[in-house]
């Protein structure tokens, strides 16, 4: 019974995969254009600084190229240097499995020449980034893209400094509880010693 359920589950997920299509990054048309405010090498602070992003159709392509674009999603993506020895940020061609872009800056219906100012989330980790935009067709599949970095993702990258997540109250609590534990231990030893002296007498 359980094995039937498991098989049904697996078949369902396989079909789901084909539904959302295994779109390959290499198959996308490079017809969008996207720019972002950070300069090469600039360091921004998560939770404080903002990024202004502008996107639209690359003017060197004919006007009708973007008729099929229904939705656009602009992402914050890891540069190769921040992917080294970190398999959970790996770049693969199959966009269903690609982990390069893990933060969405904006996701809205496609219109030409739009921009947005985005305050960097407090969840964003310390790393080197670039910005990439995907255009989706009505079936929800990626069809076009552009990114602020070059093809090799080695130029025009910027850094984001994450929040530490630590607070003074947490630091104090940790130290106090640790000290309390060690003091209790000391107390235990004293209690045991006095008990021994009692038994002796």
């Amino acid at each position: 019974m359980e094995s039937h359920l498991l098989k049904a589950f697996l078949i369902f997920f396989c079909l789901l995969g084909t539904c959302y299509g295994d779109v390959l990054f290499s198959s996308l048309s490079h017809t969008l254009v996207v720019t972002a405010s950070p300069n090469q090498g600039q360091v921004l602070n998560a939770g404080e600084d903002s990024i202004t992003v502008t996107w639209g159709l690359n003017q060197s392509f004919p006007t009708g190229t973007d008729e099929l674009y229904k939705e656009v999603k602009v992402n914050l993506c890891y540069a190769p240097i921040s992917q080294v020895d970190r398999a959970w940020r790996k770049t693969v061609d199959n966009l269903g499995k690609d982990k390069t872009c893990q933060f969405t800056i904006v996701n809205k219906p496609y219109e030409r020449n739009q921009s947005i100012e985005w305050i960097i989330n407090k969840d964003v980790p310390t790393a080197t980034y670039f910005v990439r935009a995907y255009a989706y067709n009505s079936a929800g599949e990626e069809v076009a893209y552009d990114q602020t970095a070059d093809g090799k993702k080695s130029s025009n990258l910027f850094e984001i400094q994450a929040i530490s997540g630590r607070h003074l109250s947490l630091d104090i609590a940790s130290v106090c509880f640790s000290a309390f534990s060690l003091l209790s231990l000391f107390g235990f030893f004293l209690a045991e010693k006095s008990k021994r002296r009692q038994v002796k007498n």
């Binding site: 498991l6 980790p125 947490l170 509880f177 640790s178 235990f188």
Partner: protein, 459 residues
């Protein structure tokens, strides 16, 4: 002239369970919390459980921690190795501590000493600090030794395998439970309004507080031996002072199988011993552990997810049952140095964990599947030395007991020299020798007479 003892409640009204001549319980009643035996059991497995929860609290939260602390795969791998390597020496030291101070004080102290590491996990800010907190938290796994020592002190030969197996298994359960607890606690804290990078830090206070409370419980409610604590018994001369511990659920299920598979191993050890004695215990352990190795090899070879899950569960069952079976044998190796032997066995297990991770699962030399298959071969090879285990009074896998007619008393008395025997240090071992005669299994021929001629009372 000693009165004949009978192991029933009328002679020992102060014990809720039937006991033998050493006042060790001869029955294991898991639903009871009666002092001192079952209370010791519940205190030991719960405190051991809390240490496992703390030591393995980081892995389920790694997706957040690795982003917060900017960790690489290498950093994470090293921290994982550090978490289990500290316990190697800590377990051996714990064995000595139990021999010297008793399991109650030894385990309460260790648990309290390691809680600062868990509290300070909340203020880690780099890969080095992360590695250090995992390393020092891992020391708490030495409570395994005190658990086994405590159970061996409280329960007789008939049920020591069961007691050790259940305590060890339910403690190990913490490693599986934490995979479910920590993400839950994290989500609650995050939903209340904390930022992710702060929420995981607050979450660590839960295992830390649990560990602190369990240390207090062990200290105030626990008792080393059926007749009292070490300090009382040492002073009154009963005990002498010797001079010389959807991926989340699958991962959790491996640990959660401990709820019945490790106890199962201990129970099987005791059942087999009734008919076949110590030789049965050794044979069963060898068989179960080798089969565990076989399923491990299989796990590395199968292709589909559903078959892998099934093989993983079967593998975990056999491996954990083998752990339970191991500590059905350890209590009989030595009476004088029970702590050290338990410590070295427990520590040795951790050495295996460290070696396996270093050789097969670090870097990209072997794919994970190949690593698992090779680990299975390593399991089978490391189980072979069991063929050489030999108790002169009971035999080994391929030999019967010594033809010289060595008895249990000869074996356990040989740990004491004549000066110590004059001072009466060997008395508790004498009682144990008599009680361990059950390890002969059901044999028709009567027991050979003890070599020193002291009349023994039979339980």
């Amino acid at each position: 002239m000693e009165e004949p003892h009978t192991a029933n409640n009328s002679d020992h009204p102060k014990f809720a369970l039937p006991v033998d001549s050493e006042h060790k319980a001869t029955e294991f009643r898991v639903y009871s919390v009666a002092a001192p035996h079952m209370r010791a059991f519940h205190l030991s497995w719960i405190s051991f459980f809390s240490c496992f929860v703390s030591t393995f609290a980081a892995p389920p939260l790694l997706p957040i921690i690795r982003d917060n602390l900017n960790l690489t795969s290498t950093d994470i791998g090293n921290a994982g190795i550090a978490a289990v390597s500290g316990a190697v020496f800590a377990r051996i030291a714990m064995g000595t501590a139990c021999d010297l101070f008793g399991p109650r004080l030894a385990s309460a102290s260790l648990i309290l000493i390691t809680t600062p590491a868990v509290y300070c996990s909340a203020i880690a800010n780099s890969s080095i600090s992360f590695l250090l907190v995992r390393f020092f938290t891992g020391f708490s796994l030495a409570t395994f030794v005190s658990t086994q020592f405590w159970m061996s002190s409280m329960f007789s030969a008939k049920v020591v395998g069961t007691a050790n197996g259940v305590a060890g298994g339910w403690g190990n359960l913490g490693g599986g439970a934490t995979q479910l607890i920590m993400p839950l606690v994290f989500s609650l804290i995050r939903d209340i309004g904390a930022v992710r990078f702060t929420a995981w830090r607050i979450a660590f206070f839960i295992p830390a507080l649990f560990q602190t409370l369990s240390a207090y419980a062990v200290f105030f409610l626990g008792q080393d031996m059926p007749d009292g604590n070490f300090s009382q018994l040492q002073k009154s001369g009963d005990k002498h002072k010797d001079k010389f511990t959807q991926a989340g659920i699958i991962a959790a299920s491996f640990g959660l199988a401990n709820i019945f598979s490790r106890p199962g191993g201990g129970i099987i050890s005791d059942i087999v011993a009734k008919r076949f004695g110590m030789r049965g215990r050794i044979w069963t352990l060898w068989t179960v552990q080798t089969l565990g190795g076989v399923f491990c090899i299989l796990l590395g070879r199968v292709g589909s997810l559903s078959v892998s899950i099934v093989v993983l569960l079967v593998f975990s069952l056999f491996v954990q049952a083998a752990c339970g079976l191991t500590f059905g044998i350890v209590p009989f190796v030595s009476q004088r140095s029970l702590g050290i032997i338990s410590g070295m066995t427990g520590g040795g297990g951790n050495v295996g964990a460290v070696l396996t991770q270093v050789i097969f699962f670090r870097g990209s030399r072997y794919s994970t599947e190949t690593g698992i298959t090779l680990m299975g071969i390593m399991i089978i090879c490391c189980t072979l030395p069991m063929l050489l285990i030999y108790f002169p009074q009971w035999g080994g896998m391929f030999c019967g007991p010594s033809s010289k007619g060595t008895t249990e008393e000869d074996y356990y008395m040989s740990e004491w020299n004549s000066t110590e025997k004059e001072k009466g240090f060997h008395q508790s071992s004498l009682k144990f020798s008599d009680n361990s005669k059950s390890e002969r299994g059901r044999r028709v021929d009567s027991a050979p007479t003890p070599s020193n001629g002291t009349p023994l009372s039979h339980a």
